[in-house]
């Protein structure tokens, strides 16, 4: 199991050091600094073995978090724990920075004592932790409160406490998708997938039972089998169902029920959480197409022309569009002409950055650039990195639709109809690249 946990700043100074196991000595702290943080070359692996001691690290801005062990631990668990640790810290004091860590070091030690016992991760749900790790002490609690805390921390529903009350029961669903594309210069899709998340913000009283439904092909087809009427309905709505390659759920979702009935039921944590993640690869709506044209004119000049085409309903607007066209390292000057938006050559990034604030569907726009090159005798050819794109669109490129989210709270007197529900779809670019 995890033998110790260290947090360093960018210089390699220790900000937090907590040792859980006897086999980890103080010298481990220095070993990591010397061999990883101060190492000359780029880090080649997130797991490093130094003198039979294994170090797992993740970096958040310029802060290093390292878990140390001498045993054959579950490596995936260690990384999951480190991410979780970051989430918990962020939930308590915001951004993970040297200043915030120093300002909260007592709190961090207290958290580390609670969420990792002898190197075994314990309950690390912030909702539960915040009920008793407050930095104000817990003397004032009554006996009932104490047992409520402990039963929540250890219980089946560790992520929600009892007795939550809201005057207005409200919930927000965000379907956030990032669409990833790798396209060949000829416009052939080499790989494309959508990785999506359903994020829920719930302000519901009591212990509500929720059931979430979407246009999952498997579910729709199952229901379609019911009656003949519905079969015809399915034909109509058939195109609207989507094939989900795989999905994972927040720990509140009853997985066995999903496995057997494919229904998504859960008691949500209070506040914001990620209900599910999913991945689709079929029938993706690619919001933009990039058509590159690069011509080498002699040895000292490149002509680049890039056309982008928006491919969605004309009534919708894409935002924050940015196209990055890489330029060779020996670029000496660039002239750009674009029809829409603004384009600039950024020498420090070796790229032409073309920004467009808004663009409606079914439109196209174009940029052309002349790149002057310094003559070099460098034998190595320019690697021609792909043209990448960023954007945001108000729909889900996978085609996912929320069909319902039903809320049942048998003990309190509010019904599903009383709950105010909001649904929003945002599609963003993930790694959206076209080779040129």
């Amino acid at each position: 199991m995890i033998g110790g946990l260290f947090i360093y700043n960018h210089k390699g100074e220790v900000l937090i050091s907590r040792v859980y196991r006897d086999d980890i000595g103080r010298n481990a702290v220095d070993a990591f600094r010397v061999n990883v943080i101060h190492a000359r070359q780029q880090v080649r692996s997130p797991v490093t073995n130094i003198a039979r001691t294994s170090f797992f690290h993740v970096k958040r801005s310029n802060i290093w978090l390292a878990a140390v062990t001498k045993q054959n631990v579950n490596a995936a668990m260690v990384f999951e724990f480190l991410y979780k640790m970051c989430d918990v810290m962020a939930a308590y004091f915001g951004k993970i920075s040297e200043e915030n860590i120093k300002n909260n070091f007592v709190l961090i030690y207290e958290l580390l004592d609670e969420i990792l016992d002898f190197g075994y991760p314990q309950n690390s749900e912030t909702g539960a932790l915040k009920t008793f790790i407050t930095q104000q002490g817990i003397k004032s609690q009554t006996k009932e409160e104490q047992s409520q805390i402990t039963s929540q921390v250890t219980g089946q529903i560790g992520w929600r406490r009892e007795g939550i009350k809201y005057r207005r029961n409200e919930l927000f669903l965000d379907v956030l998708e990032s669409v990833n594309l790798l396209m060949s210069p000829q416009g052939q899709v080499l790989s494309a997938h959508v990785s999506g998340r359903v994020v829920m913000k719930s302000y519901l009283s009591g212990m509500p039972e929720c059931k979430f439904g979407m246009n999952d092909k498997i579910v729709i087809e199952k229901q379609g089998k019911g009656t003949a009427d519905e079969t015809s309905k399915r034909c109509l709505s058939g195109k609207q169902s989507i094939a989900i390659d795989d999905c994972t759920f927040h720990q509140c979702v009853r997985l066995s029920k999903f496995d057997s009935e494919r229904s998504i039921s859960f008691i949500p944590p209070d506040g914001e959480f990620e209900l599910m993640r999913y991945r689709t690869t079929k029938d993706i709506i690619l919001p933009f197409r990039v058509i590159p044209l690069v011509r080498e004119v002699g040895r000292t000049k490149l002509e680049v022309k890039v056309v982008i085409k928006s491919n969605f309903k004309p009534s919708l607007l894409a935002q924050k569009i940015e196209v990055r066209i890489p330029t060779p390292l020996n670029t000496s000057g660039v002239q750009v002409i674009c029809m829409k938006g603004k384009a600039k050559y950024k020498a420090s990034e070796n790229a032409i950055v073309w920004k467009i604030k808004r663009m409606a569907g079914m439109k196209e726009s174009q940029i052309s650039a002349e790149i002057e090159l310094l003559p070099t005798n460098d034998k190595k050819k320019w690697a021609r990195p792909p043209i990448s794109m960023n954007f945001e669109v108000p729909f889900a490129p996978s085609g996912l639709k929320v069909r319902y989210l039903k809320v049942f709270e048998p003990k309190l007197n509010y019904s599903d109809h009383d709950v105010i529900k909001w649904v929003r779809y945002i599609g963003r670019s993930g790694i959206y690249e076209t080779r040129c």
């Binding site: 080649r44 054959n72 668990m77 999951e80 795989d246 690697a383 990195p385």
Partner: protein, 919 residues
């Protein structure tokens, strides 16, 4: 709130100031001071001098302050054990606090303080906390048992905590169950044979139920534990798989990977014809692909595991090639791993896509990545024959780029392609030769030279090319030198007329001017071949070469199976078994996949033989029983306790060839020394029987060697003579020896002393003094002794049978009255009778011979012409054996009757008699 100020105090006299503040009356000031202390501790300053002052702050209602003091204690208690005692009272009091959070905090902290005296005080509170009404306290106490076990394993056993912990597996609270499972699994790792977890269908059911309810971390503990279970048949395996598959949709990647581990392992037991088997295969792919959208560090762990899974079961991911395409912004470690998997998945169906990708990668920036991409193209050519032509042309394109390392890498792989498809692509040789000058890496130079030599007849200027290399012969690396030598000899055999001078030059360079033995020997061999029989030389040097195999870097199957059992863990990331990177005995138990079984067949134990297990012919090597093996593996190989010495006269029991020849073998002979005079405290009265017998057939013990009776070496001690022969090719050092628990508590009394490293084929003889104060466990047969010898290469296991008379002590003479009373007292069913044949000794001689081995004649009488000897002996553990030996003058056989309260020993005493009398 700004705590960062605590980090900035660097004034002189700081400790003194802090001391004053810690003793302040004001609570706030105290707390501030403790915070400063903790801040100093974090940055590595020594603040142990403040120990008493900090501990004084412990008695407080302020929980935050208390936690800070506890944190300090955990860090410094070990360095100040005496003062740490001061804290005990508060701990014990806190364990009784009405607030469950405080009770848990106290027991949690106490477990982290590794001071013996505190540990003693921990037992009572811990016992209470394990049965606390509050689940939070119980779950904390469960982990505390593991902590205590790490400090003092014996104490945990003695106090019965293990049983309490086992009970917690049936606890109503899922988190308590999960922590108990984690603690038990960890403890079980250091006692692999103890069957601590005692997994059976009922307990598995409990775990599977808890799996649905506990936290994500708890699910990981439980799944990892389940993976060690061995279902009794395929039906059970399937039903467990069915209940584990829902975990594949968990958001936590570690839960997913642990579930994959359970499924991969249990799948072994399912028949491939089952519909369910196919369903399961299909279910595994999507979650594995989803892992690739996790954060890069987790992607890396996932990819290392997928690499194993693809090798074990390629069918799972064969359609998922695209997801392993490298993204421009992937970290380099992710890129390299993806590339590896792409090659493994390459097939005729997807080769076009793969090649297009690889070509793209070969133009990237990172040198390692580019090299690997080029190499991958070569591997594709070898793996998918249809693609070979395209691969070769792609490689030629890359050579045209003239990027130095790309060219070199391409030449290395083209050499392999030539070997796979001879006489097909040699037309490209001309292009390769153009790049001769730019090659500066040994591997590329050697590859190019090989090509020139191999195809010398098609290259007009082959002799010139090779000659150009010859100029700097001594500056080349060995690899290039060897290749050059061979290439020129090949050239000579193909074009003998023009190249005589050249071959003589290289032979003399290799044999006379080089001090590299490999090079010199190869030179001489060629020289003699060429000078004695050129025809034979041609046959040897230009012999047809076997085609190279498709996959070159596959993990060896037994290792792969073991690694599959470690999916998700560090072992799967390193692709090495845990023993390669974990110190000591922990977690070194070898795991292996279950055998495929039909319902009726029972599965073998999961922890079967270690790698390099011996072939069947050595009868006495241990590994057949998994649990025994585990026991040995986890014995601590430290220096043993020295015990009182015993008697003499050694009987060579035989040398056992343990690990059956080859690299892994090592010979051990164990000679036992029998005691004529003995002085051993008779301890540990385990109920072991005795009897009388006569003397025969010593060799029945250890399969291979016959026994011989050796004169006593030292009086009054038991010792074991070992003969260690190094049959490996490498030097052996760092020997250590350890005995498994045995019937009479035999244990080494001193460390194994092998003074010099043992070079290959060298033999040493060592005499190891033994004591009888080790732990006792009844063995079958009784005189079986299992021995582990460790060295820098591996751990070797032996078992041997020792003659019982080495254990006879010298105060074994019983008083006559006592003898009579005891004889009558022992029930008749405990009497055993044996015949000792071919023993033409008279009573006198027998008596004196026996006496020298501590068998004492108490009385003697003559009945009807037969001599009756009444004898007694005592074993090191205090068991008395009474004997009646009837000798008939003129008759070579005599009769031995043995009576003992522990009749099991009779057979062995009889054998001892036989041995002694016949020598």
């Amino acid at each position: 709130m700004t705590d960062s100020k605590y980090f900035t105090t660097t004034k002189k006299g700081e400790i003194f100031e802090l001391k004053a503040e810690l003793n302040s009356d004001k609570k706030e000031k105290k707390k501030e001071a403790v915070k400063k202390v903790i801040a100093s501790m974090t940055v590595g300053k020594d603040v142990s001098a403040l120990f008493p002052d900090v501990v004084n702050c412990m008695q407080t209602d302020n929980l935050e302050l208390k936690k800070l003091v506890y944190l300090y204690l955990m860090n410094y208690a070990k360095s100040q054990p005496d003062m740490a005692i001061m804290a005990v009272n508060t701990f014990v009091k806190d364990c009784e606090d009405p607030n469950p959070l405080i009770r848990a905090l106290a027991v949690r902290t106490m477990g982290c303080i590794r001071v013996d005296k505190i540990t003693e005080y921990l037992c009572e509170p811990l016992r209470k906390c394990l049965k606390d009404e509050d689940p939070y306290v119980r779950k904390t106490a469960a982990v505390c048992v593991a902590k205590l076990h790490d400090i003092n394993a014996q104490l945990v056993e003695d106090q019965g905590f293990l049983d309490t912990l086992k009970d917690l597996i049936s606890d109503s609270n899922p988190m308590v169950v999960a922590n108990a499972v984690a603690a038990l699994s960890e403890i079980a790792e250091s006692h692999p044979s103890s069957n601590l977890l005692d997994l059976n269908p009922q307990s598995i059911n409990k775990l599977l139920t808890a799996l649905n309810e506990c936290t994500e971390w708890g699910q990981i503990f439980i799944l990892d534990c389940l993976a060690n279970y061995m279902p009794k048949d395929d039906r059970e395996a399937q039903s467990i798989c069915e209940r584990v598959t829902p975990r594949l949709s968990h958001a936590n990647s570690a839960v997913v990977l642990s579930a994959v581990k359970v499924l991969m392992k249990f799948m072994e037991m399912l028949s491939k014809d089952l519909d369910y088997y196919g369903t399961l295969l299909k279910k595994l792919a999507p979650p594995l692909v989803t892992l690739l959208s996790a954060e890069p560090e987790l992607q890396y762990v996932a990819l290392r595991n997928i690499n194993l899974i693809v090798q074990k079961r390629p069918e799972i991911l064969k359609h998922e090639m695209k997801v392993f395409f490298v993204k421009y912004n992937d970290p380099i470690y992710v890129k390299l791993e993806k590339l590896d998997i792409m090659i493994r998945l390459a097939s005729q169906a997807n080769i076009a896509q793969v090649l297009a990708e690889l070509k793209e990668y070969a133009t990237e920036v990172d040198v390692d990545f580019v090299r690997k991409a080029v190499r991958a193209i070569g591997r594709c050519a070898i793996k998918v024959e249809q693609s070979a032509e395209r691969c070769v042309s792609t490689l030629l394109d890359l050579i045209q780029t003239k990027v130095n390392y790309v060219v070199q890498e391409a030449i290395v792989v083209i050499k392999d392609i030539f070997r796979k498809y001879p006489n097909k692509y040699e037309s490209v040789i001309a292009t390769l030769c153009e790049n001769l000058d730019s090659l500066d890496e040994p591997e590329a130079r050697a590859a190019m030279i090989w090509i020139v030599g191999e195809y010398a007849e098609r290259i007009d200027n082959a002799d010139e090319l090779l000659e150009s290399f010859l100029e700097g012969f001594h500056d080349e690396s060995t690899q290039v030198q060897l290749q050059l030598l061979t290439a020129i000899v090949k050239l000579f055999l193909k074009k003998p007329t023009e190249t005589q001078e050249l071959v003589q030059q290289v032979l003399s360079l290799a044999t006379q001017d080089s001090d590299n033995p490999d090079l010199r020997d190869r030179g001489y061999i060629y020289w003699r071949l060429l000078s004695t029989d050129p025809v034979a030389a041609k046959e040897v040097v230009l012999a047809e070469k076997p085609l190279i195999s498709e996959e070159t870097d596959l993990i060896e199957p037994t290792l792969l199976d073991e690694l599959i059992c470690y999916i998700g863990t560090l072992a799967s990331v390193y692709h090495k078994p845990p023993s390669a990177f974990v110190e000591g005995g922990r977690g070194v138990v070898h795991k292996s996949l279950p055998p495929r079984t039909a319902s009726s067949e029972s599965a073998e134990s999961p922890e079967t033989a270690p790698t390099g297990a011996p072939p069947g012919e050595q009868p006495d090597v241990i590994p057949a029983q998994g649990d025994l093996l585990g026991d040995l593996l986890n014995l601590d190989l430290g220096p043993p306790v020295s015990g009182p010495p015993l008697a003499t006269s050694s009987v060579q029991m035989g040398a056992v060839d343990l690990l059956g020849g080859g690299l892994d073998s090592l010979i051990g002979g164990t000679n036992f020394v029998a005691p004529p005079t003995a002085a051993v405290p008779a301890n540990l009265g385990a109920p072991i029987g005795s009897g009388l017998s006569d003397l025969f057939d010593l060799t029945s013990g250890v399969g291979t060697l016959s026994g011989s009776y050796v004169a006593p070496k030292a009086v009054g001690s038991i010792s074991m003579d070992l003969q260690l022969t190094n049959k490996a090719l490498q030097v052996m050092t760092d020997f250590a020896i350890q005995f498994n628990r045995n019937s009479f508590g035999l244990a080494p009394a001193a460390p194994l002393q092998v003074h010099a490293p043992l070079s290959p084929n060298q033999t040493v003889e060592i005499s190891l003094p033994l004591s009888t104060v080790g732990s006792v466990m009844k063995m079958e047969p009784l005189n079986n002794l299992q021995v582990a010898v460790k060295n820098n290469i591996d751990v070797f296991y032996f078992s041997t049978l020792y003659p019982l008379h080495i254990l006879f002590v010298e105060d074994g003479k019983m008083d006559r009255q006592m003898f009579l009373a005891t004889w009558k007292d022992i029930p008749n069913e405990n009497e055993a009778q044996f015949q000792i044949r071919d023993c033409p000794l008279n009573a006198e001689a027998a008596s004196s011979k026996l006496q020298s081995s501590n068998i004492f004649t108490v009385a003697k009488r003559n009945v009807e012409g037969q001599d009756m000897l009444y004898q007694s002996l005592k074993l090191t553990n205090g068991i008395w054996v009474l004997a009646e030996l009837r000798i008939q003058p003129g008759n070579p056989s005599c009769t031995l009757s043995l009576k003992c309260r522990a009749p099991e020993v009779s057979q062995h005493v009889y054998q001892a008699y036989e041995t002694i009398l016949k020598n």
